[in-house]
Symmetry: C2
Subunit: 189 residues, 2 copies
DNA sequence: CGCCGAGTTGAACTGAATCAAGAAACGTGG
DNA sequence: CCACGTTTCTTGATTCAGTTCAACTCGGCG
């Protein structure tokens, strides 16, 4: 649990009291590889901290390869944010790419924290700002770069992605087919 | 100024006291069409409410058509958010597409509000969440739809865009060239 | 050992970019 | 308020990055 407090403190330093009231709401969950943590159409009820593991966001596309929107690693928070924020059905699926240890807080409990503590809203704001920046960066990359440039940047900025995630998901994440990524890799080396 | 309070109240109801302390920090600004409100490389110092007008976000691309990332209309807040949040140089330019009447608050003053008022952080959080959702939706659209589908959806969901914004900016916004958009329009009618 | 999913490679195809040129709309000054 | 010049929009021809379909290889696991 120490990792969680550390992660939160990086947004805004927590008093012991605030931390304890938050910590008391967390529930531990252990899941095996390939577990579906959230299915499209469901309403996301959890915001979770990943003590250990990797989680993938995606949208299944029937016959075709599904669309991957992102990955979340150890020591980060994860949720079907769009659904969690709006409490409307999720468009994304969340899947454990590896076995995961999670600590989850549910929607209602978090709203209580927002009501009761000042720091809750500050952290919520900073976290939402971070998510926004991440998406803005990705938008820029999708509109402004070729597939090869996107791959090279991923290689440089997120080397752990390439190490731990199957190539077909990386391909989908940068917006191309596995075949296209395979060719890119051949051509750049 | 009433419009501003109305807009804020939609996030979280403001007390008279909080509203007045916020309002006292706003400065009115009137600019003509084509004014550059923020240039790439500059640090955004303002969060502004548009009493009247349309503003475009873009990145200039030298020889080629520049890349348009969005538009903000009357009765909304606007800022080079990425730069405003991080206080690092902006990658975007902000330009007035029409004459604009703006009410601006600067970064330092807003941080004061965050420190002093609970509701400030709540509004900040809800606003950041909204920005995130907007970008997530756009990401989905760029990866999951063809240019034609994106145009048709824009037509349906944001008809005022099409009415008031030159076609070449719309084209850029949906991620294609003006020529491609021209052909799409020919083919769907 | 045999199977199955992941990755590679090839060939044909396609949506959109690019280059180019003409038509329409727009605003600015006389 | 009209005329001219400058953008903006349209249309055609060509090119290109990436898709699709298909066949083959490799590595891990039952």
């Amino acid at each position: 649990m120490n990792q969680i407090r550390k992660a939160l403190d990086m947004y805004s330093k927590l008093s012991d009291k605030n931390w304890l009231s938050f910590a008391s709401m967390l529930k531990k969950k252990i899941v095996v590889k390939k577990t579906l943590l959230l299915k499209e159409g469901q309403i996301e009820n959890n915001l979770s901290f990943i003590e250990e593991g990797i989680i993938r966001f995606y949208i299944p596309k029937g016959e075709k390869e599904d669309l991957t929107f992102g990955f979340t690693f150890t020591n980060s928070f994860v949720s079907g944010y769009d659904s969690f924020i709006t409490q409307e059905p999720s468009v994304y699926n969340l899947e454990a790419l590896t076995p995961c240890i999670l600590w989850s807080i549910n929607y209602k409990d978090l709203q209580e924290i927002y009501k009761k503590t000042d720091v809750g809203n500050t952290i919520g704001r900073l976290a939402a700002e971070g998510l926004f920046l991440q998406k803005a960066k990705r938008e820029l990359s999708l509109l402004n770069e070729t597939a090869t440039q996107r791959y090279l940047r991923l290689l440089k900025e997120e080397p752990h992605f390439i190490k731990h995630i199957p190539q077909k998901y990386i391909a989908s994440f940068i917006g191309i087919t596995p075949q296209a990524l395979s060719r890119i890799r051949r051509d750049i080396s």
